[in-house]
Each structure stands twice: as structure tokens, then as C-alpha cells.
């Protein structure tokens, strides 16, 4: 062999080895997210965009929610519950460090929970902590939480992003520079552009496969499509352009995963306002709604019809879609019985998301069939919250309720549905006092049936989660039991 050829071959082999090892070891990931979070502290804001970046990646709580919606241990490696159901004793993992090097101990847990439920707290989900009476540190790694009354949902509540454990040293600056205990550390935030997180070398748990992840903010549907196609973004866990999904499904470079979210999309009804205070009118509306037509027309066929306010992927879900099947004739009859043979006029206030704006047009057309003439009023989110949600100044609106397990809102006295049913309230109270899983599921089923029968709202569909990613990426969640992009199991296939 000539020396020059030998050199060439050796060089080629070396180059090949380098490239293949580089390919095998790909450890960076760029994700597209539609909205930029206002800040990065999940304990001080309701924006789902915060949890989409920090949940399970940067911050951890005592418990955490898994991809199937189950409650799992996190910073608490184990816990015990007293017989009266009032005292939880959490055992913390040993050797957990915050990203700034400080050690996690029971004092941090006491601080975090007390801070979240303090009078001047701006925690958006203060209700999660309402059952807590006292939090105390037994020793460095043991925390005792005493409740005012038994709360079946307590462990689940502690798994929310709003209940993550923060340190007193860094709590005030978490909005800008989040310091948690998670497997990733905050690296940088180019405002308006991207947030970057990097692997935490001192993580207490299983190390993650990715060295670096970048969350890029791309709100525009056309831009999101182009970014994926051009390879600028490797994954869009919540892809904002359902109309482009068939294009990706047909492309072997991409994997399209349609999952379920916690978003129950409803035609929310002002039950306190005539004529909607009449059960027959609400039943008429329920019969007049063709859910599949709305899903096809507004969501490009993506979404699951629902008949009550509960997520179909939940173990306690009851199929109630046929409580009031699509039947315009029956709807007209019910309207006539209620005293509106010629129908009536009402308003439909629609917030900005396309499920509401597009779905609203279809709902209005369907209700017009039975004589209910809706005036469509588009509103901004801020207006929606002020007028509809707070002041109850509305007849009908379309909105997706994305909080997990939130059927309890129907029991709230002052909620914007203005729904009052003593029997329902009793079921919910019993549920809150029950810790046994099977008993809880039975009560949840009962609750679903009551609000379905009462046709409190027009139940439309469960929002789908449209995930699109590079086919070589694995470990992203298919469903969204919480609004998170948990990257702990994400890796490039070799």
C-alpha cells in the first residue's frame, strides 16, 4: 500500500469514527413552545408556559406527576399518613442540592409551603395549600404536614408546579434565575427568543441523557411549521398548527403523536341568568350541539367528544356523551316546553384561541338551527377574565379548562358558571375527605353524572395534544396530565 493511500485511509477512518461518535452522542435538543413565559417561577404565576419549561426539569416538589397522571415520589422518597388522615410525614432524599450548591433540608420544605400559603402570597394556586394547618421540620430530612381536615387530593396537589420546593436564599430571584433541585439547571434566557437549560452534574437522581435543551418561542403557526421542516427545532410538544399535521404525519423524518390534555373545552353557560337558569333550556342546548362537527370544523378532527367535565384518559372517567345526543328536534321541543317556541337571542363571548373563535362560529350556527340566535362577541383574555370570569357578565362563552382534576370548580359558590346543586356539593365534600383511591373514583363518577344530567355547560370536547418531533427523539410525553415538557427521559436514539 502506498504511504499516501495509507494516510488517507487512516484519516478517513478517524474522521468516520469522529462523525459516528458525534452522531451517537447527540445530546442537545431544541424544542418549540408557542408562548414565552412571563418569568420562570412556577410558584408565582398561572402561565402554563412557565411549567412547560421548568416542571420536573429545573424544579421539583415533594411529589411529582408522571406521564400517566399518577402521583410519584420526588424529593420525598416516602411518606406515611396517620390513621385519622390528618398528618403526612415526608421523608426527604438525602444529599439533594440546589443548583446554587446549598443543601435541601426540611427547613426548605417548611419555607416553601409556608410561603405559598402566606397572606401576601402571589401563588396562583393558593387553593392547593388550603387544607394545610401546620408544616414543621421534625429533623433535617423529615417534614410533618398537619391538615385541617382529611384531603384526598393532597399528595396530588403537592405534585403541581405551584408546589415545588424552593430555597429561602433564591426564592426572590427565581423569576429571573430559577434555582431548583432538578436534573437541569437554568443557563440563559434571551428575552423574546429562547430559554436554555443544561444538565445538572450534581443531580441526586438518575442523570439525564441531554446535556442541553433550548426552548424557542414560536407562536406563529406558519413559522412553527417552517422551523420544524427546516430542522431549526427538533420537537414541538404542543404544535400550534393542527392544519399542518397531515403533512408531518406523511413525512418519515417526523413522528406525530396525538395525545390528550387536561383541557375540557366547554360552552360555558351562565346558569344564574334567565333563560339559562331553566334546566330545559340547557338541555335543549345540549341536544342542539353536534360535537363531532365542531371537532372537525374547528380542530381539524383532533379532539375527543366529552359529555361531562372530566378527562377521558382518567381512570375514573365515565362515558356520558350520550346523555344528551345530538337531536335538534328534541331540542326544539324542549325549548317550546321551556316557553321559548320561537327561540331567543343571547350573546356568545369568545376568547382569542382558535378552538374558541372557530368553535364559536360552529356552535352559533348549530344553535341557530333551533332558534337560539347568538351574537358573537370576540374578547381578549384580559377582558374575558374581567367580564366573563369575574363579573359573570355573559350568557355563553367557549373556553378550555386546563387545570387537571378540576371538576371541583362546579362546587364553588361564586364561580362564573353560577351553578348550585347541594347534592353535587356533598359529593365533592365527601371526595375531598376520602383518601382511598377506589372510593375516590366512585365519587368522581357520581360527580360527573350529576353535572352531565344538569347540563351545567355545553360539554364539547377534550383538547388534543399535538406533538411533533424528529423521529430520532424519544421520551417526550404523549399526553399532558400537567402542562409540562418533562425532559428527564428524553434522548436521541442511537
Amino acid at each position: 500500500m502506498k504511504p499516501s493511500l495509507k494516510t488517507f485511509l487512516a484519516g478517513a477512518a478517524f474522521a468516520l469514527a469522529l462523525t459516528t461518535s458525534a452522531l451517537a452522542a447527540r445530546t442537545d435538543l431544541t424544542l418549540g413552545v408557542a408562548l414565552e413565559p412571563p418569568h420562570l417561577d412556577p410558584t408565582a404565576g398561572a402561565a402554563a408556559a412557565i411549567d412547560e419549561i421548568v416542571y420536573a426539569n429545573i424544579f421539583e416538589g415533594l411529589t411529582r406527576i408522571g406521564p400517566d397522571g399518577s402521583v410519584r415520589p420526588a424529593l420525598a422518597e416516602s411518606w406515611t399518613l396517620s390513621d385519622d388522615g390528618l398528618t403526612y410525614t415526608f421523608r426527604l432524599h438525602d444529599g439533594v442540592k440546589f443548583h446554587d450548591g446549598t443543601t435541601l433540608d426540611a427547613g426548605d420544605v417548611v419555607f416553601s409551603l409556608d410561603r405559598a400559603r402566606a397572606d401576601d402570597s402571589t401563588n396562583a394556586q393558593k387553593g392547593l395549600f388550603a387544607a394545610i394547618d401546620e408544616v414543621e421540620a421534625v429533623d433535617d430530612l423529615t417534614v410533618r404536614v398537619t391538615l385541617k381536615q382529611p384531603s384526598g387530593a393532597f399528595l396530588w396537589n403537592m405534585g403541581w408546579g405551584d408546589a415545588v420546593i424552593v430555597a429561602p436564599e433564591s426564592a426572590e430571584t427565581n423569576k429571573e434565575r430559577p434555582v431548583g433541585t432538578g436534573p437541569f439547571m437554568f443557563d440563559g434566557w434571551a428575552k423574546g427568543s429562547a430559554v436554555t437549560i443544561v444538565k445538572n452534574p450534581d443531580y441526586w437522581g438518575d442523570p439525564v441523557a441531554l446535556d442541553k435543551a433550548t426552548f424557542r418561542f414560536i407562536a406563529d403557526p406558519a413559522a412553527a411549521t417552517a422551523a420544524l421542516l427546516a430542522g431549526d427545532v427538533h420537537a414541538f410538544p404542543n404544535f400550534p398548527a393542527p392544519e399542518a399535521i397531515p403533512q408531518f404525519a406523511a413525512d418519515p423524518r417526523f413522528e406525530v403523536v396525538i395525545g390528550s390534555t387536561e383541557g375540557e373545552t366547554i360552552l360555558a353557560t351562565n346558569n344564574g341568568k334567565p333563560p339559562f337558569d331553566d334546566l330545559k333550556v340547557r338541555q335543549a342546548i345540549a341536544h342542539a350541539i353536534d360535537r363531532q362537527a365542531i371537532i372537525d370544523g374547528a380542530m381539524f378532527g383532533l379532539g375527543t367528544p366529552i359529555g361531562s367535565h372530566f378527562a377521558p384518559h382518567h381512570p375514573a372517567y365515565v362515558e356520558l356523551v350520550e346523555t344528551y345526543p345530538y337531536d335538534p328536534e328534541r331540542a326544539k321541543q324542549l325549548l317550546a316546553e321551556a316557553g321559548y317556541p320561537d327561540g331567543f337571542e343571547a350573546t356568545l363571548k369568545l376568547p382569542p384561541p382558535s378552538y374558541a373563535r372557530r368553535g364559536g362560529e360552529i356552535v352559533a350556527a348549530q344553535l341557530r338551527e333551533i332558534g337560539i340566535d347568538l351574537e358573537i362577541i370576540p374578547v381578549e383574555w384580559a377582558q374575558w377574565l374581567d367580564q366573563v370570569f369575574k363579573a359573570k357578565d355573559y350568557d355563553l362563552t367557549i373556553v378550555s379548562h386546563t387545570e387537571p382534576n378540576d371538576i371541583g370548580i362546579y362546587a364553588r359558590e361564586d364561580y362564573y358558571f353560577d351553578y348550585h346543586n347541594k347534592a353535587f356539593g356533598e359529593v365533592m365534600a365527601e371526595l375531598d375527605a376520602t383518601a382511598d383511591t377506589d372510593a375516590r373514583y366512585a365519587l368522581m363518577r357520581k360527580a360527573q353524572e350529576i353535572i352531565a344530567q344538569d347540563a351545567v355547560n355545553g360539554f364539547l370536547f377534550q383538547l388534543a395534544k399535538h406533538g411533533i418531533w424528529d423521529a430520532r427523539v424519544e421520551g417526550l410525553w404523549a399526553n399532558a396530565p400537567v402542562q409540562a415538557n418533562d425532559l428527564t427521559e428524553v434522548r436521541w436514539k442511537e
Binding site: A124, Q125, G192, I218, D220, A222, L229
Partner: protein, 314 residues
């Protein structure tokens, strides 16, 4: 000239004051509580009240106006409700994207439009002129976001020459920065160039019809010299007006383009701030844009006065 300057300056100041009152009043009237929006549907009333106090929203309107405007005058633009960082920092971060983008687009459109306009005017009625007029008509009619999407699909998705969007930041180098601004600048520049070319052409044709041009020609000056020396400077006045307006438009009106290319620019900041009810950001940035427009117009007026001495005496 001095009294002209003084008069113009007073007008600028009055305009800015009026604008600040209008901007503030309009945003105060628009319904929507920023605190409630930030904390969302499940928030309790006392959490919302606590946040309102933190953001200073519990103060009377008049106090807040003077705090805001007083701050603006001393360079303190307040603190963003949502990002909770000083507004001036946000604006500065965004300007390093929006300003080069606007300038690139402006330079590009001028570089295309003026020669094209002159060329077209010099060949009035010829086939080339008709072709250019048709092309500019098309350029005006095509929405720039649509054109932007076409550019992305051609150069980023199909040819993979440039990224589909985003901005790497100037710290990653001049070339990557410029590269990511190139397509947006083209998308912004072409419709502007079309307008500018038409204005240049018609303004030049108007001037070429004037008596002094006929005189110059009658003296036997070559056509090129007449065009360059006698016609062009006078024809520039309407062109300057359009340029001034375009600069303001480019700076404020890049919202759509910045969305298509997900650029972290000023337009997107305002858009985001409006949807999040980040009032202080909207108020400050809008006032800043108004000030820019007013000042650019002021400079354009001065440029007129330079181009046409008769205007100074008015």
C-alpha cells in the same frame, strides 16, 4: 431658520405631551386587570390583590400617570409587570434587533427603488417603464407576511441556506446575526421599494415638466445632466416624505414579520405586552415609537428646508 427650528421644536413637544395623555388614557380605559391575567382562572382574590399592590396598580390613575411620565423624562421607563425587569432593558434588548432590521430594510428599499424610479422616469412610456410599473403594482399588492412565508419555504425549508427564523444574538457574531435578518429585511423592503419607486418616478416626471427644466434643456444641456443636477434634488422632497413615513412604519410595523421569523424585536414585544396587559411596557414603547415618528418627521422637515429654501420662510 432659527425661528423655524424653534416653532418646529415646540410643535414636537406639544405633540409628545398629547400623545402621552392619549396613550395612557386609552390603555387605562381598555378593560382587563393585569394581575388577574397573570394569575389566571384559579387565583384567589387575595393573591390578586397582593399582586396588584406589588405592581403599584392600587394607586390612583393620576398618580400613576405622573409617576410614569416623570420616570420617562428621567430615563426610567418603569418595570415590566410580566417580566418584572426594567422596561428600558427590554427595549434596549429588542432595539438591537429591530433597529438593524429596519435600517437594512430601509437601505435595501432605497437602493432598489431610487435607481428603478429614475430609470423608469427616464424611459417614460417605453416597454421597460410599463413593465416596472406592473411589477411595482404587484409589489404593493402582495402582503409582506405572505411574501415572507414564501421566502422561508424557498431559502430555509427547501434550500436550507438560512435558518427559518429566530435570532442568535449579536454575541454569536456579525454574520450569523445579519444572516438571520436578511430574509425579514427583504420581505419588509420589497413592498416599500415598490411604493418608493413609484413615488420617485412620478415626482421626477412632475419636476421634468417644470419650466426651469425646459430652460435647462433649451440651453442645450445633456439630458443626463439635467436629470442629475436640476431635477433630482427637487424631486427628492416627496421621496423624503415617504422615507420618513416608512421608517416609522418599519420600526413599528414589523410585528407580523417578527412573528413569521420569530425575531425578538420591538414589534413582537409590544404585541406580547398587549395580550398580556403589560400596560407599562405598552405605554412606554408606544410613546417611544410616537417620539421616534415625531422626531423623524421633524428631521424630514429640516431636510425639506435644506432641499428647498423657500420652505424656510413659511
Amino acid at each position: 431658520m432659527l425661528s423655524y427650528l424653534l416653532r418646529r421644536t415646540v410643535i414636537v413637544l406639544v405633540t409628545l405631551f398629547a400623545a402621552s395623555v392619549v396613550v395612557f388614557a386609552v390603555l387605562e380605559i381598555v378593560p382587563g386587570d393585569p394581575a388577574r391575567l397573570m394569575l389566571g382562572m384559579n387565583a384567589t382574590e387575595d393573591a390578586i390583590d397582593a399582586l396588584r399592590r406589588q405592581m403599584g396598580l392600587d394607586e390612583p390613575v393620576i398618580v400613576r400617570y405622573f409617576t410614569w411620565i416623570g420616570g420617562m423624562l428621567t430615563g426610567d421607563f418603569g418595570r415590566s409587570y410580566t417580566y418584572s425587569v426594567p422596561v428600558i432593558d427590554l427595549v434596549r434588548e429588542r432595539l438591537v434587533v429591530s433597529l438593524p432590521l429596519a435600517l437594512m430594510a430601509l437601505a435595501l428599499s432605497t437602493a432598489i427603488a431610487i435607481p428603478v424610479g429614475i430609470f423608469s422616469a427616464a424611459r417614460r412610456g417605453a416597454a421597460a417603464d410599463a413593465g416596472i410599473m406592473a411589477a411595482t403594482q404587484l409589489g404593493i399588492a402582495i402582503p409582506n407576511f405572505w411574501f415572507a412565508i414564501l421566502l422561508v419555504y424557498l431559502f430555509a425549508v427547501t434550500l436550507r441556506l438560512v435558518p427559518a427564523g429566530g435570532f442568535p444574538g449579536w454575541q454569536s457574531g456579525l454574520w450569523p446575526g445579519l444572516q438571520s435578518l436578511l430574509l425579514p429585511a427583504i420581505a419588509l423592503a420589497l413592498p416599500q421599494a415598490a411604493i418608493l419607486a413609484r413615488v420617485t418616478r412620478s415626482s421626477l416626471l412632475d419636476v421634468l415638466g417644470e419650466d426651469y427644466i425646459r430652460t435647462a434643456r433649451a440651453k442645450g444641456l445633456p439630458a443626463g445632466l439635467v436629470l442629475r443636477h436640476h431635477a433630482l434634488r427637487n424631486a427628492l422632497i416627496p421621496v423624503l416624505t415617504i422615507l420618513g413615513l416608512q421608517f416609522a412604519f418599519l420600526l413599528a410595523g414589523t410585528i407580523i414579520i417578527e412573528n413569521v421569523f420569530y425575531l425578538p424585536g420591538l414589534g413582537r414585544l409590544v404585541f406580547q405586552a398587549i395580550t398580556q396587559r403589560d400596560l407599562i411596557v405598552v405605554e412606554s414603547v408606544v410613546l417611544l415609537l410616537v417620539a421616534t415618528v415625531v422626531i423623524v418627521n421633524f428631521l424630514v422637515d429640516l431636510a425639506y428646508a435644506w432641499a428647498d429654501p423657500r420652505l424656510r420662510r413659511r
